[in-house]
Symmetry: D2
Subunit: 268 residues, 4 copies
């Protein structure tokens, strides 16, 4: 069933300011963009470039004053729900080059410092089983609490406080996967199951793919449990939220309103 997406937000810039926006469904094989319409209030100075890993696009803007973004799309998701149980993990030296950077520490995911905990808590498991164990541990111990984190909150803060929102759940899962030598990346996305409706975030882990000789694939895992692989519309990927923020501003900006509506539609 197609997913209908409507998103709108606005902000105000006191001075001429550079911005990076990334808020649209990515055109990638696993999801088909049936229709799309983006309205930006900037008449000039808008450029589009491929985003991280060439998944989705970044809109680069130089603007001042009030800025409005409105986005509508209809997307068919072709992705299946994988079964992570039993999937093997690949050693760094077995990995294709690309996933390697997703083993390293990043801004919000200082995974290195969680190695002792990961070994202590999940020591008997590997691969998909370990990812499931991490997922369950977060689900069991964390409280989803709007307003409990902010743009400086790292995975270590969330790990200590055991609460957060989708970005924090994703950062903790990513950090614990990396601390287990499993490449993990951050996915910004839309999904109809998210309550309250908003931009969403979850993780992808790189594990062996049984259908490919010696190969691997990225698998979606949502520590909040709200999004399912088969209804997740990806916007972009990155090492963590710093890479795929829907709004990065190189100067002061005053955020206004934001509304997001995502739902399954029974017929096109």
């Amino acid at each position: 069933m197609p997913i209908s997406i409507t998103a709108a937000f606005d902000f105000t810039l006191d001075n001429p300011t550079d911005l990076i926006l990334q808020f649209e469904a990515a055109a990638i094989p696993e999801q088909t963009i049936l229709s799309t319409r983006t309205t930006l209030s900037c008449g000039e100075d808008c450029v589009r470039v491929p985003a991280h890993e060439a998944i989705g696009e970044r809109v680069l803007v130089h603007a001042q004053g009030r800025f409005d973004v409105r986005y509508e799309a209809l997307v068919e998701v072709n992705r299946l729900a994988p079964d992570l149980a039993g999937l093997a993990q690949l050693s760094p030296h077995e990995l294709p080059g690309d996933p390697l950077e997703y083993l390293l520490d990043s801004t919000y995911c200082p995974a290195d410092r969680l190695q002792s905990f990961a070994e202590d808590e999940f020591g008997g498991t590997t691969g998909g089983d370990r990812v499931l164990a991490i997922h369950d541990w977060i689900a069991r111990h964390f409280t989803y609490e709007a307003g409990s984190s902010n743009s400086t909150t790292t995975a270590l803060d969330s790990f200590v406080e055991r609460r957060g929102i989708c970005r924090d759940y994703a950062h903790v899962l990513i950090s614990l996967a990396r601390a287990s030598t499993i490449p993990a990346r951050y996915v910004s996305c839309f999904s109809p199951g998210v309550t309250p409706q908003d931009f969403h975030a979850l993780a992808e882990v790189f594990l062996a793919d049984d259908t490919i000789e010696g190969g691997g694939a990225w698998y979606i895992v949502d520590a909040t449990g709200m999004a399912k692989p088969q209804d997740t519309v990806k916007i972009g990927v990155g090492r963590d939220a710093a890479d795929v923020s829907f709004l990065t501003s190189f100067g002061p900006s005053h955020f206004g309103d934001k509304t997001v509506a995502v739902r399954e539609v029974s017929a096109r």
Copy 2:
């Protein structure tokens, strides 16, 4: 004049552990590898993959017990010392796609939080002049102090304490450049001017290149003043030290000795 490099280090791993090593001069146009020899004490399980931006190589290892690395090379550097003064900076929407990620926050360079300071302190300057102003500000206010930082020290820590070693100087310069909307990346390297001799780190900033219509280039800048562009042998680049550590260990490791000797040799 060619640069002669000798580096050796060892460490011990209690358990079978995955490692990423990156410690050799990169084979890139701006420097010619005249000769090279690497000896690793691991007989098996060593794989080489291109490193970040395909600059240099990462050696992926799965090993246990005592591990020895020995590296010797002779490198001719073809790079000239640029004059940054007067070079323009490119707006994000004027940038080619690749340098864009070097505007974003990274593990050790949470640049976003330094925007107010950068505007306050360096507000009247842009481009190469701003980079020089940042360079001079660091040179004037920071103390180079071995042992004053560790692997968790961020650019914000160094900014507050006003001291550090080469990695910290580079992280602060990179953060202040990004806070000024100038792409900046971390370069691990060898240079004969480094005292005491060791692996070295400095920054590169992306600024307009007058010789290319609408184009730009990466320019070396060393906040410590010890390395010169024309004698710097690059090992690798990344967003910060997390991307180009000479040793990343996915498990406990006990570091042993390290010796580095870099010198200009008058004749081949």
Copy 3:
């Protein structure tokens, strides 16, 4: 002229929870409580104990559910505005014992790490002149911005970001004073000049008192410039905000509304 104070706030506790409240004008020689009325919605389990330095009182509560606090008072302030210029600072070994703890690092004021900056920026000054230099530096470089900080923001965060609210201004001034070997403490207070009206915070520094042989005294200094010594009604003092929060909760609490109104009244 007397100061009239009205303050009211409420919160809800899901479970039986221990609380520490400190929100009333302190009965100390420098301010006379003309009238006071406190209404707490807890019928039982309320105990009062002297607060830090026996300045003001803490109300200890064990409660559950909705909790309302209402406070009204009329206070005459007998304090004069001091002239800090030229006041000497006392070496630690010249200090009476009590101010000594206000030289040490505390939760929100890790002053030790700012020693280099303090010496670098304010090196030519001591005592009251240094405090004034610190005050002016903050006034010149910081932006007062509601919502820019939260309960985990330290003086180092504020120092880096150069913005905050009254608590942050106080924490930075306190930290820079301690880094200059001048005892400094945090004062929670009411003042009619605070916009928007709310609980306020400022700093006190311990400097030589010319009227006392070999002695010293605490002097008010407000980095935000909103409160004056002669209209400041002290609630309590401590090393930093952690010691004199108006509400400390040993369990989850949901904060409701808060209103504060402080004004000079022309006649009693």
Copy 4:
């Protein structure tokens, strides 16, 4: 059996610098100082003041250049090993005023952020039983590792990394006790069981004392397991290490050597 203590350390100060030293056995009822000798290389400007809670003394010094400290003492410890099991905890409103400040956050013990974890992990227990559960949890999950922490390491860092030295073990135990609404303080001390021999640190918790109607007492608990209450010679107490450092320097200092020898002596 008396405890014999010898401690010596030295450091060098480039400029005239203020120092606070606290390194001698405290003269308190629970331990008898049989003999003591302190030699400081400062001829002038040494002042002694009572330390935190009037337990032990701080030596205040203004000095420059090389500074030597030598201390010898023989101390009889009169303290018994308490049995914490079953001891009740006192609600904040039942506490005498003094222990109250040991419920609040401090520099190295941001306990507030560990409330969810403490409730999640130790929820079924209270009082002495909870302290024992915290002690056992640390003993089970932490690795004692010299060099794994430094002077900026907080209890949250140690909690994440699950390793540290005595100060870190004490900070984590203190933070988890406070997060459980049990007053906890930091004790610097000497003990013969410490390996390698050095200044030591442990925690004290305030719990009900069955021998006093409505009263409470401080009980020693050492998360490292190395010191026993009956052989611990207290130097001082505080909220955390920031309050009872053996050396606090208000300016750059270069630490030299340190030797500590503590042993039980069979006869005086």
